[in-house]
Symmetry: C2
């Protein structure tokens, strides 16, 4: 049996390690900048691929990512599995009941937000295919269909993440956007499956085109009706009779791989089967959060970064960057999506501001666009220039979408109390026996961290306020505060009192965590919003317990940072 | 760049799906029979490989697991990564502080249990290598060293799982066995790294042998001192500044891959680096249980089954089964291990029964043995007959070890109350408004499920007992019981009362879960042990809550079945 040599195993491990490290590191940088992780992951691949590293150091690039021998095939096998599992997670996020509950608005915005951009892209692609990056050798019709589909799919995960960040997720507006995006995702993938079949992918399967299309429809109908029911009925049995949660994990992966193999065999693509399987699986109320988390975390933080970084290895983004094409694609994608969504949102009864917010929200493309583009590139339907333009368009619309929604709603960014503190203004042990000592110690820490603050002035104002009413809010937390005319930005100091100190809390518990809020008199809304942020954190006793135990600023941040929404990092 | 074809992707997905499904299914069967999952996983590979499927249906076998073309190499790449991650988890289970706390007993049993079997295997392998399955063409000395090492390593995970099953894990005896096994594991792998270097694996790396050995020692010393410290210091920072738990997940995998690549490069093997990395990583108190669980579950239930099943694909277990060799290997392994452990355990102050229990416990070989054998097979050091003998020996010692420990201690198996109930004796809603109605309904259910029970007789005895003292034990659970002379096996009926019914509990809470225990008068100890089993379950309010919500017997079992110890399924 042919095996990898010692040298090939070393190269495989080094290349996987480097790819994963770079993708995760840049993914985190993107996240810190408030962007989806996928942007950093693709950037990592561009840096390591022919665009930068292999252009600058051809020897290193060729050693790390050889283009001949068995390793590219091994890498292709691994990234195929990675993207298949990523689509499983993407499918699991499609909540059919969300669409059902908001079917009118979702259908209206979903259909409008799909049909209009489809038409807007289809017409020019048919009339002026060369301008849109079409190359001799493939069918113009299929090319136009592909481009129209690619430009009309919104990225559900990016949309969901943006809404959560803007604290709009649970609002009426937010749920409508999500329902429309879910519908859009599902319908878009159905259309795309047809395009894939037309793309000639079907030919290699040895099936007739109409066989492929019939089998695809049968597969989707089966999975979303019988398959969904079967999975929902099987899960309790699997959970009862196998190790938990590992048994369900294996079960989920086996049916995903089976669906992926089936759709690949009929000539659509493995990832389509995985996506539909994810929809059926994610819909079961018997899939427990713990199982879901294990799949999502492993896929979102290991498999997805590997896949997205591997994209940059395949294409030279510098040589294939065509500004004109990028602008055309960007303009068509944005105009079509905005027109379709805004008009249909107005039609569904939303006010103008909200309709624009829906349009900008749905304009985010993210990872799905890029995956579609890659499949078309592999099938020889589009060239590398158009692929690069699609990637750039997807990244740009994802980056700007959140900002534009916020701008159209005129809604300010959420305020978080810890954003105004630092390691300097964090006091691991206040060493205080009463509230006055605690406030004085925190005022000193705040002044150390912010040179324009005067410790005594802060302490006096906060103490005067404290005398009016104790600032303990219960649950072991106190929030003394001072409003000053002399500053123009808030400052926060945080201190622990392991033994606890009385702050006259309604539940009579001593405060073990004291958070001093210092806000500018010119912006009175800051005080309320910082208080709200503390109150939100205090709602979880488990979080408070971790915060109280945090002996350093780093541990304090770590204790806060436990509610990531992993799968929504991509899109 | 060379890529996989459409057909190859279909085959890859189908073969992975079939392999994973068979491995998981048989792994669960093994678990149900009280055996480590690895036994079922290897059996799955044997069924799908040349031994059975490919012998019976050569066409199917060749289609599913081709021996030529790129797919075997892709599979080799994937299983190499799988086994590397499995060793990471195995290393994470090595708790250095356990050894340190019980260093006298652990060192004594650990060294004795290593040196004696090493010598017992080394001498015959040097004197009569042919009898031990040595083939012309490799060095007798290296062969003897390998066999001696392979026969002297205990399987920590199998040992730990067995102790947990026997409820011995937290006892003095249990912790000594674990500490000795941990020491054994660590020391064994160190010796094995040397053997690997000698095996000529080093030659392919292009380094001198003494370079390899020096670099290995430097690597281990660095990882267990500086690396361990660095990881412990880095984890809080990573947790604070990246998405949780995905950030840590990526971090852990990147350093594991880096260590694996390093040890592979210096000529030892990738898995050795992953194992040492796991020891250093698992030792950090900052590695949170959630991160640990995600890694362990995914590796134990996806990667490990794939790897162990793939072993059966490589070797024909029927053609290479040599009964004489199997018996020789089994005898040498068992005699050496027992002699070494029993004598040194007696020396460390254990009583005779306990010393034998330690010996039988340490005799479990499990997965580690098999991995070592596979590496030796790949390096051409041993032939397929000896490999098969090693696998059979490893499986047999793992299967018998638990039984023999129990037998030497004379300790009975633990009793679990639900083992005596069934879907027939489970009543989702008792519809009772008082304890008498509840007991009568449960007695009827018990009689339905057990034809030799009389419902009225059971109810009368239980009600008489209930009048003496209410059987509510608090936390919403009541345990009415009846001891009958007419039966010779216990029976249990379980019923829910969603609204709750008074059973005179010490905490005055109404019972929402009523468990009727019916025990034979001839075996009075059953009643106490069933009660203890209920009390143990009742200790976790979360479990009780899930049990109360379980609307069917399947859901009830699922709610009980949430404390699997996943990584200990292998060994």
């Amino acid at each position: 049996m042919s095996q990898l040599t010692h040298h090939e195993i070393v190269v495989l491990l080094v290349s996987l390690g480097v790819l994963l490290a770079a993708a995760r590191a840049l993914g985190e940088v993107a996240r810190r900048l408030g962007q989806p992780a996928v942007i950093g992951e693709i950037a990592a691949g561009i840096l390591l691929g022919p665009t930068v590293l292999q252009a600058a150091f051809p020897g290193v690039g060729e050693w790390l990512f050889p283009r001949e021998g068995p390793l590219p095939q091994v890498m292709h096998g691994i990234t195929t599995i990675a993207i298949t599992l990523f689509l499983l997670v993407a499918g699991m996020e499609v909540d059919l009941s969300t669409i059902w509950r908001r079917r009118v608005a979702a259908l209206s915005v979903g259909v409008g937000g799909m049909v209009v951009p489809f038409a807007v892209a289809l017409v020019p692609a048919l009339l002026a295919p060369r301008l849109m990056g079409w190359d001799e050798g493939s069918s113009v019709k299929v090319f136009a269909l592909f481009l129209a589909t690619a430009l009309s799919i919104s990225a559900l995960p990016v949309v969901a993440k943006m809404l959560i960040d803007l604290q709009l997720f649970r609002t009426d507006l937010g749920m409508t956007i999500v329902a429309a995006a879910v519908f859009n995702d599902l319908a878009g993938w159905m259309v795309f499956a047809m395009v894939l079949a037309l793309m000639g992918h079907a030919a290699s399967s040895g099936l007739e085109l109409w066989h492929t299309i019939t089998l695809t429809l049968v597969f989707v109908a089966f999975m979303l009706v019988a398959g969904r029911w079967l999975i929902d009925r099987s899960l309790p049995w699997v959970q009862a009779h196998t190790s938990f949660p590992g048994g369900v994990l294996g079960f989920a992966l086996v049916i995903t791989i089976a669906c992926a193999a089936f759709t690949e065999w009929i000539g659509v693509h493995a990832i389509f089967g995985a996506f539909i399987c994810g929809v059926a699986l994610g819909d079961s109320r018997h899939l427990r959060p713990r199982t879901r988390e294990i799949i999502e975390q492993f896929v979102s933080f290991i498999f997805a970064p590997l896949f997205f970084a591997s994209i940059g290895l395949r294409v030279d983004f510098a040589a294939n960057f065509d500004l004109g094409l990028v602008l055309v694609v960007l303009a068509l994608a944005t105009v079509g999506k905005l027109a379709g969504c805004v008009v249909s949102a107005r039609f569904a009864g939303f006010r103008s501001r909200e309709a624009w917010a829906i349009g900008f929200g749905m304009n985010a493309r993210g990872a799905m666009e890029i995956i579609l583009g890659l499949l078309a590139l592999e099938a020889g339907l589009i060239n590398e220039r158009l692929f690069v333009a699609l990637v750039v368009m997807a990244l740009l619309t994802s980056i700007t979408s959140g900002m534009l929604v916020q701008w159209s709603l005129g809604k300010p960014k959420p305020v978080r109390f810890w954003a105004f503190a630092s390691s300097k203004s964090f006091v691991p042990d206040l060493g205080a026996t009463n509230s006055t000592e605690a406030i004085r110690a925190l005022a000193r820490a705040a002044a150390d961290a912010n040179p324009d603050l005067d410790a005594d002035a802060v302490a006096e104002v906060a103490l005067a306020r404290e005398r009016l009413m104790g600032s303990g809010i219960g649950g072991g937390i106190a929030v003394p505060h001072a409003r000053l005319a002399t500053i123009d930005a808030p400052a926060v100091a945080i201190g622990r009192v392991p033994g606890g100190v009385d702050f006259d809390a309604p539940d009579e518990q001593p405060a073990r965590l004291v958070i001093l809020l210092i806000t500018p008199a010119s912006q009175p809304e800051y005080q309320l919003r910082l208080l709200a942020s503390v109150a939100q954190t205090a709602q979880s006793p488990a979080t408070v317990e971790r915060l109280v135990e945090a002996a350093s600023w780093t541990e304090f941040l770590a204790a806060l940072n436990t509610d990531a929404t992993p799968a929504q990092e991509h899109g």
